[in-house]
Amino acid sequence: MEPIRKHEGLVYPLNRANVDTDQIIPKQFLKRISRQGFGQFVFYNWRFDSNGELRNDFSLNQPKYQGTSILVAGENFGCGSSREHAPWALQDYGFRVIIAPSYADIFYNNCTKNGILPVKLTEDEVQTLINNAEASQYHLTVDLEAKKVYDTQGFEASFDLDDYKREMLLNGWDEIAVTLTHEDKISQFEEAKG
C-alpha cells in the first residue's frame, strides 16, 4: 500500500454519528471482484437521487468540497458491515485521512490495511473542525510521524495510534510479508497443536 507520513488537504465535514458502512457504500456495489473503481459509489444513496442525479442537498456535492481528502465525522464512524469496500470507496474518491471521535473496530482496521489514516480526536476537537469546515474552505495538515493535526490559524491537536499500525502506515508495508518472517513460529505452533 501507499505509505502516508504527512498529509495536507481540504476538509469535508460530515456532521453525523454512527455512519455505517452500508451508507459509505451500499450493497448493490459489492458485486465487483476488483479493489478498484468504488469511489464513484461512495455515499451513493446520499449523493444521488433515485434517478441517479447528484443531489444538491447533500454537502459533499457542493463545489467548495471538491478535491477534499480529509473526512471529519461524528462518533462510531464505519459501524456495521465488515465490507472493506467502504475504505476502498473512500480512498478511491480521494480521502487519505479520516478524523472522528471513535470508529467501529473492523472499519478502523480495514483503513490501516489500505493506507487510510484514521485519526481519533476528542468530541470537542472534532466539533471545532466540523464548524471550521462548514464555515469556509478549510485545510488541515496531518502529521503521522509527530501524531499531530494542525491548521495555519493556531489549531493543533495530538492523536494516538498504536506503534504497529503507525509503522505499517508510515512504511506502506505488505503485512503478509511481515508475518511470513515468523513462518517458523507458525509451523512450530501447528506441529505442537497436532
Partner: protein, 472 residues
C-alpha cells in the same frame, strides 16, 4: 492459587503464535469461513504475489450473500453470476472446500458452520463478515474481518490482533413467555447503545443466558457487532455439548468425551475479573420493535415511537429527526399502529429450524394479511429440508407465505429480494440501516414470532396478547 480467567483470556492464550511487548499478538486461526462477496480480491492478492492457501483444510467456503432464493438455476444478474463463478474457480485453484449454490450443505455461512459441527468451543474463527460473532454462542472466539485480513489468513492462517478488553453482559432472571433471544439482544442494545461494546469482546452470562437454546444463543451473539463488539461469546455447558454431539465434523466416542472435558474447562472461572460489566433484568423485557435506523433505536411493542423531545442533546435531536423522516413516522404514535407491507423471516440472526418452527406456531391456521407480502428464507439447504420433513413449509405456504431457498436474501437485499422504496418491512434480520433492504426501504427489526404475528395482522402486535381467532 492460579489466577481465575475468563474464557476469552483462555482461548487467547492458547492461540498466541508470537508475542512481543507493545505490539499486537500474532494469533492462530482454527477455522476460516469464506463467502463470495468479501473473498475475490483476497484470492486475487494471493495470485499476484504467488502465494498459496496455507491450510485449505481449515478453510471452508459457501455462497450465501448473492444467491437467488427463487429460480435457483437462473441467475439473471451477470455481475452476481461472475462473483459466484469467481468463488468456484478460486476454490478449485487453491483447493478450498466449497458448498456451492447446488450443494446440500449450502447455506448462510453462520448457519452452516454450527450445523456441520465446524464451529466448536475454544476455536478461533474468522470470516469476512461482521456477523461471524454468531459462532461465539459455542464458546468460540469468532469475529469478522476485512478482505485484506481474509487474504492474510488465507496466506498465513494467522492474524495480528490487539488483545481485546473483556465485557461481561450479565442477564439476570428469566425471559417471560413470548419474549425471545431476539428481544433480549435488542433490549440490550437499546439500553446500552450501538457502541458500548466497541473495543471489547463480550461474554454473556447469567440465568437467562444459561436458559437459552443454542439457536437463541446464536441470535444473541450474532448481534454483538450491533453493539460495537467484534465478538460475543457464551461459556460452553451441557446445552452446547448436546447440540454438537453427532454433528458431522465433531468426533465421536472416546475422543468426544475428551473434547467435552476440554470444552467445559474453557468456561470462565469463578471470580475471574472483566474489564467492564453491565447488567440487565430479563423479566423486565418485553417483545421489541425497532423504530429507527440503527438497532439501538428500539422500543417495547407496547410503547410509542419517540419524538424529538425525548432527545438528551442537540445531536440526538438531529438523529431522531433524521430517523423519523427516513422511516416515515410522525413520532409519538404507538408502534403497534404502524402498518407494514413486507415480512421477512430469515437471515443469520433468525433462520434456523427452531426460529421457523416457533414462527409457524403463530401462523398455523391463519392467513397473511392481504396488504402484506411475506417470505420465509431458511438459513440453509439442510434447515429447509428438515422443515419440509416436519411440514413447517406447508403451514407457511397455506397461510400465504412464500417459501424460498437458502441465502442471506432480504437481510441485505444483494439479490432480487428487495423491499421497494418507501415500503415497510417487519424483518427478523439484524440491521435497520437506511437502504439496507433496498434504497428507501424502511426496516423494523423483530423476533420471528413478532414477524409472524405482524404478517397476519398487517401491523405490529404484542405476540403475548395475540388473539387471532383460529378457524376450527
Amino acid at each position: 492459587m492460579r489466577k481465575p480467567k475468563t474464557i476469552i483470556e483462555k482461548i487467547w492464550e492458547k492461540h498466541i503464535v508470537h508475542h512481543e511487548e507493545g505490539k499486537p499478538d500474532l494469533l492462530y486461526i482454527d477455522l476460516h469461513l469464506v463467502h463470495e462477496v468479501t473473498s475475490p480480491q483476497a484470492f486475487e492478492g494471493l495470485r499476484i504475489n504467488n502465494r498459496k492457501v496455507r491450510r485449505p483444510d481449515r478453510t471452508f467456503a459457501t455462497m450465501d450473500h448473492n444467491v437467488p432464493t427463487i429460480h435457483r438455476n437462473v441467475i439473471k444478474d451477470e455481475v452476481s453470476k461472475t462473483q459466484m463463478e469467481t468463488l468456484k474457480a478460486n476454490c478449485e485453484e487453491f483447493g478450498v472446500p466449497l458448498a456451492d449454490i447446488h450443494h446440500p450443505d449450502q447455506g448462510i455461512v453462520h448457519v452452516i458452520g454450527p450445523e456441520l459441527g465446524l464451529t466448536q468451543p475454544g476455536k478461533t474463527i474468522v470470516c469476512g463478515d461482521s456477523h461471524t460473532s454468531t459462532h461465539g454462542a459455542f464458546g468460540a472466539l469468532a469475529f469478522g474481518i476485512g478482505t485484506s485480513e481474509v487474504e492474510h489468513v488465507l496466506a498465513t492462517q494467522t492474524i495480528w490482533q490487539q488483545k481485546p478488553k473483556t465485557l461481561n453482559v450479565k442477564v439476570n432472571g428469566k425471559l417471560g413467555t413470548g419474549v425471545t433471544a431476539k428481544d433480549l439482544i435488542l433490549a440490550i442494545i437499546g439500553k446500552f447503545g450501538v457502541k458500548f461494546g466497541t473495543g471489547y469482546v463480550i461474554e454473556y452470562t447469567g440465568e437467562a443466558i444459561r436458559d437459552l437454546s443454542m439457536e437463541g444463543r446464536m441470535t444473541v451473539c450474532n448481534m454483538s457487532i450491533e453493539a460495537g463488539a467484534r465478538a460475543g461469546l457464551i461459556s460452553p455447558d451441557d446445552t452446547t455439548v448436546e447440540f454438537l454431539r453427532g454433528k458431522r465434523h465433531v468426533p465421536d466416542g472416546q475422543e468426544f468425551e475428551q473434547l467435552v472435558e476440554e470444552w467445559k474447562a474453557l468456561a470462565t472461572d469463578e471470580g475471574a475479573i472483566y474489564d467492564e460489566q453491565v447488567e440487565i433484568d430479563a423479566d423486565e423485557i418485553e417483545p421489541q420493535v425497532t423504530w429507527g435506523t440503527n438497532p439501538g433505536m428500539c422500543i417495547p411493542v407496547s410503547a410509542n415511537v419517540p419524538t424529538v423531545d425525548d432527545a438528551n442533546h442537540e445531536n440526538e435531536r438531529e438523529e431522531i429527526t433524521r430517523a423519523l423522516e427516513y422511516m416515515g413516522l410522525e413520532g409519538g404514535e404507538p408502534i403497534s399502529s404502524v402498518e407494514i407491507e413486507h415480512v421477512f423471516i430469515g437471515s443469520c440472526t433468525n433462520s434456523r429450524l427452531a426460529d421457523l418452527k416457533r414462527a409457524s406456531e403463530i401462523v398455523k391456521g391463519h392467513k397473511v394479511n392481504p396488504n402484506v407480502r411475506a417470505i420465509v428464507v431458511p438459513g440453509s439447504h439442510s434447515v429447509k429440508a428438515q422443515a419440509e420433513k416436519e411440514g413447517i413449509d406447508v403451514i407457511f405456504k397455506d397461510a400465504g407465505f412464500e417459501w424460498r431457498d437458502a441465502g442471506c436474501s432480504m437481510c441485505l437485499a444483494m439479490n432480487d429480494d428487495v423491499v421497494p422504496e418507501g415500503e415497510r418491512c417487519a424483518s427478523t434480520s439484524n440491521r435497520n440501516f437506511e437502504g439496507r433492504q433496498g434504497t428507501g426501504a424502511r426496516t423494523h427489526l423483530v423476533s420471528p414470532e413478532m414477524a409472524a404475528a405482524a404478517a397476519i395482522k398487517g401491523h405490529f402486535v404484542d405476540v403475548r396478547h395475540l388473539s387471532i381467532p383460529t378457524p376450527s
